[in-house]
Symmetry: C2
Subunit: 218 residues, 2 copies
Amino acid sequence: MTSPRSRRERPAKPALTRAGIIDAAVAVLRAEGLAKLTMRRLAQELDTGAASLYVYVRNTAALHAAVLDELLGEVDLDTKNTGWAERLEAVLTSYAAVLFRYPGLAQSALVARPSGENYLRLVDTLLGLLAEGDVPRDQAAWGVDLLLQHATATAAEHADERPDEEWQAVFTAVRDASPDTHPHLAAARAELVSGAPEERLSWAFRALIAGIVHTPNP
Amino acid sequence: MTSPRSRRERPAKPALTRAGIIDAAVAVLRAEGLAKLTMRRLAQELDTGAASLYVYVRNTAALHAAVLDELLGEVDLDTKNTGWAERLEAVLTSYAAVLFRYPGLAQSALVARPSGENYLRLVDTLLGLLAEGDVPRDQAAWGVDLLLQHATATAAEHADERPDEEWQAVFTAVRDASPDTHPHLAAARAELVSGAPEERLSWAFRALIAGIVHTPNP
DNA sequence: ACCTGAACACCGTTCAAGT
DNA sequence: ACCTGAACACCGTTCAAGT
């Protein structure tokens, strides 16, 4: 009585698992971007209804966090530099590079922090490098938050789809600032918009590290 | 022929203007929160259709940026501390306090930076304080970005509606980290979760300022 | 326990047609 | 130029009913 079509039409619908859902989510993200990574679209990909996903994923924010942790597997923790500070900067730059590919995910990550295996490994590595630099443990612990936050926030800033127009607005506003009403802004016009993104990121990491090293906890 | 109702039923619908739209948006934000500040809800408030707003506001991101700039009028730029660094920290804390009231807006602000009058005044003030501390102008210019980004990102981190549960996840993950696989994480367990939010914010500002002062631009 | 279809309660944005 | 209603193309999440 069972028709062959019902058994063999497609390559056997796999059972839903949390891991399978996250894998499918990463696939959708890579293929179509974060905007298309919705519960409904993801359910479609898994040949089910959106409601079924809620057994394994609390909500969209949790999905984003899980997907991000998965992507953090690509961060290069084993850099070849000699000094601890240089290796620290390299790991952070690698982390930032992963997030720069999915700025919208970085934006989510600020709110729904990942707490998966890859994230923990990253934090452990950063703490290890700071310990190697003899940074007191309490400063290192608070400092790691600061370092990861900067990388994440900088990536999130690029989540805009029309970045040229937005930048134009800021650029114009700075350019048109009168020395009478905004003396310091007018004086620092050139410096405010100077530097390549990589230069500014590198400078920021070094400034953060210097600050962490030199600022004792209360 | 004209019925009285059509003229006098409500207190005369005011003409749409950009300023009026932003004012209404701030009112909706204060009364119902960012989640309810949608183009449709805002249009309802102004007794018109959502489509009408698009003459004055490019999109939702631009609306958020304009609303934030409006709120930045509340930032206290004129603090009574003696040293430039203390005043700088106080202004940043005041900025953070405004954003902490609307974490979702802070999240938007990372992507769609405001470029209105209040934002420019804030940047000008921060640059002035750094100049007072004899921080070289190029370091100050890049540093202001760093300082504002940290305050904004820290506020954005609280945009979660279920913060207890999310925090539990991180807390549990850190607590359960094995010393074998995550030695530095295990060693820094206590320090990672220590400190009141205000203490950490204050420490972060001081670390950032120290880093900015001590790190020359490339 | 897991899975589902359908429903609830919304969104942003565009566009042709009006004034 | 501005304003509008209606339409397009979606969302996240819940829930009763099934297995």
